[in-house]
Symmetry: C2
Subunit: 308 residues, 2 copies
């Protein structure tokens, strides 16, 4: 008898959870748990180990350790969509296998990003190899298309081929191309059981209006509730105004390097200087930019209400 | 009493050793040992885990396993300059520490390459953190500048800063920018105890004429002896002709995707079809390109003399 596994397609608002470090650059996992708990309380899912989590500055073993800590603590694995795509096939398999074993409802998977002149056939082989090696019916892959940083992208043709080969395992995509026409093209395909997430809340309303599943956005670390509200109430008449309000904050934050800006904001409003630690090669905002950013946020009456 | 450690500056010809895979995509370490032995017999040093070794498709644990196997087998660690630069600081520290512990005379270190908008200060902190954490007087870092693939490069200003902070540990660079003026600029600096390697044999003669240390070239996997001869006899009158002969072969090979082309050549001349296996996302040459490549090599009477 074939065991039927019911796994829901993910939808909603997810945040690549920013990663707190100790002064010795190890991860402060207790603070990470706290940030995750708070995000869940704000109805935001946990795309831990995203680009804006500095995930590519963490080893696979560190990520496995952190996933274990989150689940041991009691974070619901259904809320977890960890990033598991690494450069090396063997790393991606190991981390993905572990995430599935822990019960994570999906994984967000970068393509292998070191070698640049790769073709769709090579990427198809890569993802096929991951799926065959993980070999678990619970696996749900959300592809991660972020060509401005990974430089290697995921084409519509590749998605078609993957869906044809693995309709059960390839469950969606995060489009961080920053190019709405690409998201629109994917939405127009209307693939079955395929969730399309905007890569930031800037395109959230449009994504929802066109049949998308939500967004996965770094800014959800500081503005979760209002982003969630646009997701939830997109059909209401004032959703355009709500989207516009999101844009105002987003535009301020993304006029700075995003990860340092987010950490600066959390550090300031939580009065915790360690939140301002980044793992090299990334560096924090300088004093003058930090002040400018906080002043701009104060000018729009932004506040981050957290007990941290 | 301070223990004085004598480690020679590396010079000569090194090859990023191509990595042989089994049909199940695991590394065929015995064949790797064989390739390494052969390269040493051709007076070529072993830059295992370079770009053209598909190193970024291998996990840190796989690299540690392979380094152990090579040294256990009896490969002289003095001939080894493994690539140890990963995306994640913690991975780079772990692998570098292991290489130094095994007695490798140098490590070739990519900058962290996922995050693109990094500045020299962040890279300085990254390399400083590696050096401080490895904390071993035997460490010798050869920086790896390959902006066409890593997208993150190593500027002259960064080298200056690193040499000022760590004159003992920062021992040289491989310049794979493909831009001779960059190599020339570095050579003009005439830094003390700093070996400058051309990133391919195309610039070998010029590099030697301008005070460089040699080259680290993927083509040394198939043309080691003649490349070594240009390194050794660059001062002789016929070195220009010898360099020209290298260029003829190099130009043929690099008109194809380099890693698949090298594997195709070794597979053909060693009559070993497994040498043609690449780890995804990379793919082998198609049949038509393979034939065309071998025909072009036959036309210049190329032969790969190997007992394999």
């Amino acid at each position: 008898m074939i065991k039927e596994i019911q796994i829901e397609q993910l939808k909603g608002v997810f945040s690549p959870v920013i990663t707190p470090f100790n002064p010795d650059l190890s991860v402060d996992y207790k603070k990470l748990i706290h940030q995750c708990e708070w995000l869940i309380s704000q109805e935001v899912g946990l795309a831990v180990f995203g680009t804006n989590s500095e995930a590519n500055s963490l080893s696979v073993d560190e990520k496995i350790f952190l996933l274990n800590k989150l689940v041991e603590y009691g974070i619901d694995p259904n809320k977890l969509m960890p990033g598991t795509g690494c450069c090396a096939l063997s790393d991606t398999i190991k981390l993905t296998k572990h995430a599935v074993k822990l019960g994570c409802s999906g994984v967000l998977m970068l393509p292998p990003f070191y070698y640049k002149a790769v073709n769709d056939d090579g990427l198809l082989e890569y993802f096929s190899n991951v799926i065959d090696s993980v070999n678990d019916d619970r696996l749900r892959i959300y592809l991660y298309h972020i060509p401005p940083i990974a430089m290697v992208g995921i084409s519509l043709q590749l998605i078609e081929k993957l869906l044809k080969r693995y309709p059960r395992y390839v469950a969606g995509i995060k489009d961080s191309s920053g190019d709405w026409s690409n998201t629109q093209n994917m939405l127009d395909e209307n693939w079955d059981n395929f969730s399309i997430f905007a890569g930031s809340e800037s395109f959230l309303l449009k994504t929802m209006q066109n049949g998308g599943a939500g967004c996965i956005s770094a800014t959800a670390n500081i503005n979760p509730k209002k982003i969630f509200d646009v997701y939830k109430y997109w059909e209401k008449s004032d959703s355009i105004d709500m989207q516009e309000e999101l844009n105002v904050l987003r535009n301020i934050v993304q006029s700075y390097p995003l990860i340092p800006a987010l950490k600066c904001i959390v550090s300031h409003f939580c009065e915790d200087k360690n939140w301002n630690i980044l793992r090299p090669p990334l560096t924090g905002l300088n004093v003058s930019d930090s002040k400018k950013l906080i002043n701009e946020l104060n000018a729009i009456n932004f506040n981050l209400i957290k007990s941290n």
